[in-house]
Symmetry: C2
Subunit: 191 residues, 2 copies
């Protein structure tokens, strides 16, 4: 491993955001899951919680450009499991879904511990997830089509989270738990 590569890995780990994560609720097209994971890597999300991806993690491919190696994907049967787990750890869950309690996605605070929950390609966020979520958020739609592609919607919301966290200085110093930092550095530095 070149010294440049080692420095790059450390710089990336220094920008990882342990208190920002994504939950997918039955999102099951491999290219959508892959694109979401790739975007997560780019904004510093280190863990993705994928409930009921059907085809499963093994089928993720293509558009991720190898980002799977850089982001940990956790699989669950049932979306209630990751929601409750993260809430018990102090995360707020923001579900991207159109309901009567929805707010514009730019109104929320993404600098606190939070999980952005994305719904399935066809059926959107499940009732279970919508009920358990702390907030419902939406991206304004100005056109004829009623929704964004799910990986596009995830990226729009995550780029707002990235903006707020950059402003708050959350990328300026390492925030990963030290043991996870060391283990990951060791793993990634393998030839």
């Amino acid at each position: 491993m070149s010294p440049e590569r080692f420095a790059k890995i450390k710089a990336v780990l220094n920008r990882r955001q342990p208190d920002l994560t994504v939950i997918t609720d039955n999102v099951h097209k491999p290219r959508n899951l892959s694109a979401i994971v790739r975007t997560c890597d780019a904004v510093g999300v280190h863990h993705v919680h994928s409930a009921d991806p059907d085809g499963g993690y093994g089928t993720y491919h293509g558009t991720a450009k190898g980002s799977h190696s850089w982001v940990k994907v956790h699989l669950y049967d049932g979306v209630d499991k990751p929601i409750k787990k993260l809430q018990s750890e102090g995360f707020k869950v923001y579900a991207a879904t159109f309901t009567d309690r929805v707010v514009d996605y730019r109104q929320l605070d993404y600098t606190q511990p939070c999980a952005i929950l994305m719904g399935a390609e066809k059926y959107g966020v499940s009732d279970t997830a919508a009920e358990l979520a702390d907030e419902h958020i939406m991206i304004p739609m100005m056109g004829m089509v009623e929704s964004y592609n799910v990986s596009v919607a995830a990226a729009i919301i995550l780029s707002e989270a990235q903006r707020q966290r950059e402003q708050a200085g959350l990328y300026d110093a390492s925030r990963m738990p030290p043991d996870e930092y060391e283990t990951t550095l060791f793993e990634w530095a393998q030839p």
Copy 2:
């Protein structure tokens, strides 16, 4: 056509932004082109200029959810053509590409007439387009992977344009040329 449908069509046309557009430079995967067109509809971009899409407009499908009917896609041989055409009409061209003259995409003004230029899946923005463009913009990358999927990158930039234009009140009153408004209303209102 129900009165609700007719009202929806008019509301959408009233939010169309004649001075915001997208140029694609050899972007050729149908699902990426489709996702870009779908996002354009959602932020009020009515015209997309697609240079050298290889497979061509005919092959766009799937993820667009029928948005092709709502956005006009113009095809070109050679990316210089749409760039020069739009510049002669007073547009600034912002190319999404990594070069030494790049600025953060949030630093630019998207309320003036502008075209966002996106590069090919594998090779990025061509030298021709990079040279002709007025500005080079990039979205910060905090992770190991070096680029976003092109439709994801387009959506992140367009959502910033949408934010600025909403703040500037550009969605508050109809801005389409009246003859195009009438023709489009007539077309869309056909059963």
